[in-house]
């Protein structure tokens, strides 16, 4: 897609997104707030796994850290929610970078195992530090009200704030990905030895990517604490990390739009599955997952890209005049 077409599409989508509160309110709107939050979280994971090729099965941990930083700041020190978000981001950046350094030695399956173990440990650790985290019962917070006496419900205000932060984070990410840094990340993913021989400091980039990735997901976590006004250890179990992974694969690895699409999927498809079958909703969800992977193995964004290539570019023919199908560059194995 050309740069201009992409920007125009983005503007259209953003305008439509901002107008949503006019059409829906309450729970429905809240679900879209959650979609925005998930989109930021997925963007974080996608930067690490999709663009940089480092598998993480533990991003729920950063989400939890961000959420609890925000919750503790609001609960213990009555800090206004607005400040908690950037603080969560910065702290998660540091934590992610610190995790990224030793993780440099691990690749593929082994990194996945390490992050998986971390994700598993998170609820236990959160319960252990009861004094700060409120233990198993968690922390109850209060929903922010619209400032300056604006005539907005809490849900509407939350939605607009979240949406704005989402747009900002995505624009930053898009710029990052299209820059030299972004290209370096992809080079490292595809062949880090070759990248290094071209002068790319693979180790520094990989650790930094971990940090930025953690920051994004941490900010999403912080937003979720503000939006839901409640944090508890069991909501940050390994299943959350798996959900994020599902989100980026379904949405499309290495794709900006993919994160929005993936967020919509993980927010709404479980509900649809429940509508279809009360008795075994997750079985339906599982069938959806498998079906999606058959039809769109490169995610929704990948499938759309293929359609675009087929529609726009002229067909390449072999010697005999028959069409030879174009191929998508595959993300790393």
């Amino acid at each position: 897609m050309t740069r201009r077409a992409s920007v125009i599409l983005a503007v259209v989508v953003i305008v439509m997104a901002y107008s949503l509160p006019a059409f829906m309110s309450g729970f429905r709107l809240f679900q879209f707030t959650q979609v925005c939050i998930y989109a930021i979280a997925l963007m974080g994971l996608n930067l690490l796994t999709g663009y940089n090729g480092q598998f993480s099965l533990g991003h729920g941990a950063f989400y939890a850290i961000g959420a609890y930083i925000s919750a503790i700041m609001m609960d213990q020190w009555a800090i206004p929610y607005g400040w908690t978000i950037p603080v969560a981001g910065i702290l998660c950046l540091v934590v992610g970078f610190l995790f990224g350094r030793p993780a440099l030695r691990l690749e593929g399956l082994y990194l996945a195992l390490a992050t998986f173990s971390l994700a598993l440990a998170v609820p236990q650790i959160l319960k252990y530090f009861e004094h700060w985290t409120g233990g198993s019962q968690g922390l109850v917070l209060s929903k922010p009200k619209a400032p300056f006496g604006l005539k907005l419900t809490e849900d509407q205000w939350l939605y607009l704030v979240t949406l704005t932060i989402t747009v900002i984070m995505f624009v930053l990410a898009a710029n990052l990905v299209r820059s030299r840094v972004g290209r370096a990340l992809v080079a490292i993913r595809d062949n880090h030895i070759a990248a290094e021989s071209m002068g790319v400091n693979s180790a520094m980039y990989k650790s930094l990517t971990f940090g930025v990735s953690a920051a994004y997901t941490g900010i999403a976590g912080a937003l979720s604490a503000v939006a839901i006004a409640y944090v508890a250890p069991d909501s940050f179990n390994v299943f959350l990390s798996v959900t994020f992974l599902i989100g980026i694969v379904i949405g499309g690895l290495g794709s900006i739009w993919g994160n929005v699409l993936g967020a919509v999927f993980i927010q709404f498809v479980p509900n649809w599955a429940q509508d279809i079958s009360k008795a075994a909703p997750w079985a339906i969800f599982g069938i959806f997952l498998i079906g999606f992977m058959y039809v769109m193995p490169y995610g929704i964004a990948g499938a759309l890209k293929l359609l675009w290539i087929r529609a726009v570019r002229p067909r390449v023919t072999g010697q005999g005049g028959e069409a030879v199908s174009p191929q998508l560059p595959s993300p790393s194995r």
Partner: protein, 237 residues
């Protein structure tokens, strides 16, 4: 003796890239043909096309039967043994296990034992290293093992991809001597891809030369060896 292999207007593709542009040749049963050419000319691709390891168009007939469209495993079962570039040794299995795998697809299992004996006679070093892991063998020994493994199939056609690659000249000579022996004994047809043109011309009776996926020269090796101008311009010596 009919034609063991007939290839007509063969095209081969790696994804969108076309590597062979209409290659045609034929081999008599019991003959040794060598395919020569520079790097990237399409020599390895030709062998891969016969073994159905790449996408192809055109016609390939083995002992009269069309084989394009068949699976690799099916083609092997018909009696074509392919020793790939780099030998393809099962490095984590023992020498003996490598040989046993060679006979997995063999049609005529009754004489497998006899062939195993013959192969160990031809390559005594393999008998010596029977229980060793194949990965511990030297390059030359692995090449012998690869040829031996291919022979365990009891093939009618043997495809060899650059057997001399990375091997000392004496070792290569020995291997080529054994190839000639096998050819004379069991009438196994051999299609040999080689960079080392002079050695290949010594062994083979027919030759064809590939250049960017096309046959540019074909004939008997005698003629090619004697024609100085052809030799110099195409074979560089």
């Amino acid at each position: 003796m009919g034609a063991i292999l007939e290839v007509e207007k063969l095209e081969a593709f790696y994804g969108r890239t076309q590597a062979l542009h209409g290659v045609s040749f034929a081999m008599e049963e019991g003959g040794i043909t060598t395919v020569l050419g520079a790097n990237g000319a399409g020599k390895t691709t030709t062998l891969r096309a016969i073994s159905a390891m790449v996408r192809t168009r055109g016609s390939i007939r083995f002992a009269g039967e069309p084989i394009q469209g068949k699976s690799t495993e099916g083609i092997v079962a018909m009696g074509i043994a392919h020793v790939p570039e780099g030998r393809g040794t099962f490095v984590d299995l023992t020498v003996e296990e490598n040989l046993r795998i060679g006979m997995y697809a063999r049609r005529d299992k009754r004489h497998a034992g006899r062939d195993m004996e013959r192969v160990l006679e031809l390559f005594p070093i393999l008998r010596q290293r029977r229980r060793q892991h194949a990965g511990t063998l030297s390059g030359g020994e692995q090449q012998m093992l690869a040829v031996a493994r291919a022979l365990m199939l009891g093939p009618r056609l043997l495809l060899l991809d650059e057997p001399s690659l990375g091997l000392a000249p004496l070792v290569v000579q020995e291997i080529f001597r054994i190839l000639r022996l096998i050819n004379e004994e069991s009438r196994v047809s051999i299609l040999l891809v080689e960079q080392n043109a002079s050695l290949a011309l010594d062994l083979a009776d027919h030759v064809f030369l590939l250049e960017t996926g096309r046959v540019v020269l074909a004939g008997t090796s005698d003629v090619l060896r004697r024609d100085d101008s052809i030799r110099r311009s195409y074979l560089g010596y």
